[in-house]
Symmetry: C2
Subunit: 423 residues, 2 copies
C-alpha cells in the first residue's frame, strides 16, 4: 500500500503552484511521510486516496464529517436547494428556518448569525462582546485554538503585535489563573473565551472542572463581561446543545462550525439577548454567507441530530474503541493516554516525548487501512459501525506488534522537532 | 406586485432570531421598503422573491452570478464532485488543477491559496506582504472596501483602534496623495492595496489613471513593498486576467472571490514568486477551504470563461444598456451619471444628493420587474440577453415617467440619512 505514485505526482505539481505544496490544517508536512496528501473520494466512514487505497478515516475531515461522508439525506437536501438557488441577491427562507432551528436547539441562544469559517464565528464573538460591553480586554486560554485570523492564529508569521492588543492569556481549567487574569483586566474586560474541553494539539485532552466553568460565568456576571464558548470543534459531538450544558453553564455567545451541515460550508455565531445590541452594532459579512445550499444541508443535518441516536451510537463506539485499545497496547508493552470524550479521542503514548512512537503507530495503522493522527484529536462519526471499530482494533494489534519490533530504531520527525523546539 | 405577505411574515420571524432581522451586505435596511428581503429561486438572469414575483436581477448576488444563476454546466460539475467527496481529510486533485488554472490565467500569479471569503483573501494578502517584507505599514485607499474583518470593516462597531495599527489611507487615483502616504511610511511600508477601479458605494465609479497604477508599482519597487490588487468584486468581469492588465501593471498579490465558481463558495489569494517566501511563512486555514465541490465548480467556470465570449457579450449588453438608458432618462427630464465599466454599472442621478430620486427609481423599477440598486454598483451576467436589456429600458421608461410625476413629494430614506450624516 505504501507506493503512492499518483499522490507523489500531484505533490510535484502542487509545489509549483501552491506555497509549500499545501497549506493549512490539512497539510501533511507534520505527519508521517507515507500519509497521502490527496484524496479521490469519501463515503460513510471511509476515504480513498488518489492511488486507490481505502482508509477508515478517524479524522473526519478534522470534524465536518459527523453523520458519515456523503450522507444521502443531507446531500439530497443540498442538491434540491441547488436546483432552486444557492448564492442569490438575498437569502432564502432557509436562513430564517436555520436560525430558528439553531436557537431552538442551543439553550443559551436567542439569535444566530451564519458565516463561513469557524474563524468568522470566533472573530464575530470577540467583536460582538466588545461592541456590547464597550470594553476591550479578551481572555483566551493559553494554547487554545480559536482560528487563524491575525488576533488568534497560532503561528506568528506576518502578524504585528498590535493586532493582538488586549488579548490576554490564562491557563484553561485553572481557577487561580483565571481569577488573576480577570483581576488584571480590571474594568476593561470584554470577554472570556473557553473551549468546551481542552483539545489542544500535542497534548492530553482535559474535561472541564465544573467549578472552573461556573467561575468563568460568575466572573463575567460580576464584571459585565461576556462568556464565549468556542464550540467549533466539539459542537453537537458532546450533546445536542452547547457543550457547556454538560457542566451546567450557559455562555452569552457560542461559535459553531465544522459539523452542523455535515461538511457543507457554514458556521455560525449564536448569542443570547444579553449580546443582541452588540450583535446589531457590528458589521460582518461575506460573499457566500447567505448561500442557501449549506443552510438546507444544515437544516437536514440538525433534523437528523434531533431524531436519531447518532450521539449515543458514537459514544458506544468510542467506548468500545477506548476499552478495546488499551489491552491491545498493553499486549505489546505500550501504555496509552486516551483522553477527552470517547467520541473525540486523543491517543498519545506514554514515554514518547517527541512523538516518535505515535508517528510509527500512525504509519503502521495507515499501512493497515486506518487513518489515525499522531498528535491531533480524532473524531468518530455516526456512519461508523462496530465492525469498523473491530477493524481498527485488529489493525492496532498488527501495527503495535510492528512498532514494538522497530522501536529502538525510531527517529523523531525532523520538522516536528523544529516546530516543538521553537515553542 | 407590491403586496409581499410571505416576505413580511419571514421578516417578522427573522427579527426574533437574527440581529436586526438580517445582517451584512444583503440586508435591505438601506433599500426602499418595497424591496424583498427573501428569495425563493434564481435562474439565469432572474430571481423570484418568496411571494412569487420575478425580477431581472441587476445585482447578481452582489457579484457571484457571472454566467447566470444555476448554470447547468457548472452545477453539474459541482454535483458530480459532491457524489465523490466534498470536505474530506485532505484535498482532492481538483485543488492542484484549480491552482494551476488560476496561475495559467492570471499573468502575475505564480501560486494560489484558496480560501472561502473575499475577506480571507485580502487579510492573507496583508499578512503575506508583512511576512515577506518584514515591514508593517499598509496603505489602503480612503473609502475602498476590502472586506469585513476588524482591520478593514467599514463600520467601527466592536473594533479597537489597535486592530488597525499601521493601516494608512491615501486617495485612490491621486498621485500626490499616494506619494505622500508612501513618503510618510518611510522604511516601514509593507504593501499598497488598490481596487482595480474605484467602486465605492454611493459614489460615481472611476477608472484608474494608468499613471497612478504605474506609480503604485514603481513606489513598491523602489521601497521593497508589495502591490496588492483587490479583484474580489471585479475579477474576470473586466478581462480574463488580473484587472490591472488593462493598464499594464502587474501586482505582487491579488485577491479573488465572488464569481470564479459562479456562486459556489470559494475565494483565493494569488501571488507572484516575489511573495512566495511570505506566503510560506503565514498560517491561514478554514474548515472548508479544501472542500472539493467549489473547486470543481471553479474549474468548470474558468473553462467556460476561457472558451466562450461571456465577456464580450456582457460588454455588448452593458453598452446597449448605457447608451439606451441616457435618452430614456432625458425624455423624462433626468440626467444620469452612468460610471465605471459598462458591465459593472453604477447609475446615479444628477441633483440627487440624498438619493431620494435614485430610491424612487429603484422602487419603480422593482414594481416593473427589474431589481436595480440605488447606490451600489450593479453587475451584468452572461445569461442576460438583448431582450433583457430591452425589458430594462422599457421598465425604465415607465419608472422614470412615474418618478417625474411624484418627484416633488419624494422624501429621503431615513436610515440612509442617519448613516450618511454619520460620515
Amino acid at each position: 500500500m505504501s507506493a503512492k505514485p499518483n499522490d507523489l505526482a500531484l505533490r510535484e505539481r502542487a509545489v509549483k503552484v501552491i506555497p509549500n505544496g499545501m497549506f493549512g490544517h490539512e497539510a501533511t508536512h507534520l505527519l508521517p511521510a507515507s500519509f497521502p496528501q490527496f484524496f479521490s473520494k469519501a463515503k460513510g466512514a471511509y476515504i480513498w486516496d488518489v492511488d486507490g487505497n481505502r482508509y477508515l478515516d478517524m479524522m473526519c475531515a478534522y470534524g465536518p464529517n459527523l453523520l458519515g461522508y456523503g450522507d444521502e439525506r443531507v446531500d439530497a437536501a443540498a442538491t434540491r436547494q441547488l436546483a432552486l438557488g444557492d448564492t442569490m441577491t438575498g437569502p432564502g427562507a432557509v436562513l430564517v428556518e436555520l436560525s430558528e432551528t439553531l436557537v431552538s436547539m442551543v439553550s443559551h441562544a436567542d439569535w444566530a448569525m451564519v458565516c463561513k469559517n469557524g474563524t468568522d464565528a470566533t472573530t464575530m464573538a470577540m467583536t460582538v462582546a466588545r461592541a456590547q460591553t464597550g470594553k476591550r480586554r479578551i481572555l483566551v486560554a493559553d494554547g487554545a485554538y480559536h482560528g487563524a485570523a491575525p488576533w488568534c492564529t497560532p503561528m506568528p508569521g506576518g502578524i504585528v503585535p498590535e493586532e493582538r492588543a488586549f488579548i490576554s492569556k490564562y491557563a484553561w481549567n485553572d481557577i487561580s489563573s483565571l481569577e488573576a487574569a480577570v483581576a488584571e483586566a480590571g474594568d476593561d474586560l470584554a470577554a472570556i473565551f473557553a473551549s468546551p474541553f481542552k483539545h489542544d494539539a500535542f497534548q492530553d485532552q482535559t474535561l472541564p472542572d465544573p467549578a472552573y466553568a461556573r467561575l468563568a460565568r460568575e466572573l463575567c456576571d460580576a464584571t459585565g463581561a461576556k462568556l464565549i464558548v468556542d464550540d467549533v470543534r466539539a459542537g453537537f459531538r458532546l450533546v445536542r446543545d452547547c457543550s457547556w450544558e454538560l457542566v451546567g453553564v450557559r455562555p452569552d455567545l457560542s461559535s459553531w462550525g465544522k459539523s452542523f451541515a455535515n461538511g457543507h460550508p457554514i458556521s455560525a455565531l449564536l448569542g443570547s439577548d444579553s449580546c443582541r445590541v452588540g450583535a446589531e452594532a457590528i458589521y460582518a459579512t461575506g460573499s457566500f454567507w447567505f448561500s442557501a445550499v449549506p443552510m438546507a444541508a444544515a437544516i437536514e443535518t440538525l433534523r437528523i441530530l434531533r431524531e436519531s441516536d447518532y450521539l449515543e451510537h458514537m459514544v458506544a463506539l468510542g467506548t468500545k474503541l477506548r476499552e478495546g485499545l488499551e489491552p491491545v497496547a498493553a499486549r505489546h508493552g505500550f501504555s496509552l493516554r486516551q483522553t477527552g470524550p470517547v467520541q473525540m479521542p486523543q491517543i498519545l503514548f506514554d514515554e514518547d516525548p517527541d512523538f516518535r512512537i505515535g508517528f510509527a503507530w500512525a504509519e503502521a495503522m495507515l499501512e493497515r487501512g486506518v487513518y489515525v493522527h499522531p498528535w491531533h484529536n480524532m473524531f468518530l462519526n455516526a456512519a461508523m459501525t462496530e465492525a469498523d471499530i473491530d477493524l481498527l482494533l485488529e489493525a492496532a494489534d498488527g501495527a503495535l506488534a510492528h512498532v514494538r519490533k522497530s522501536v529502538a530504531a525510531l527517529q523523531p520527525h525532523p520538522l516536528l522537532m523544529l516546530m516543538l523546539g521553537a515553542h
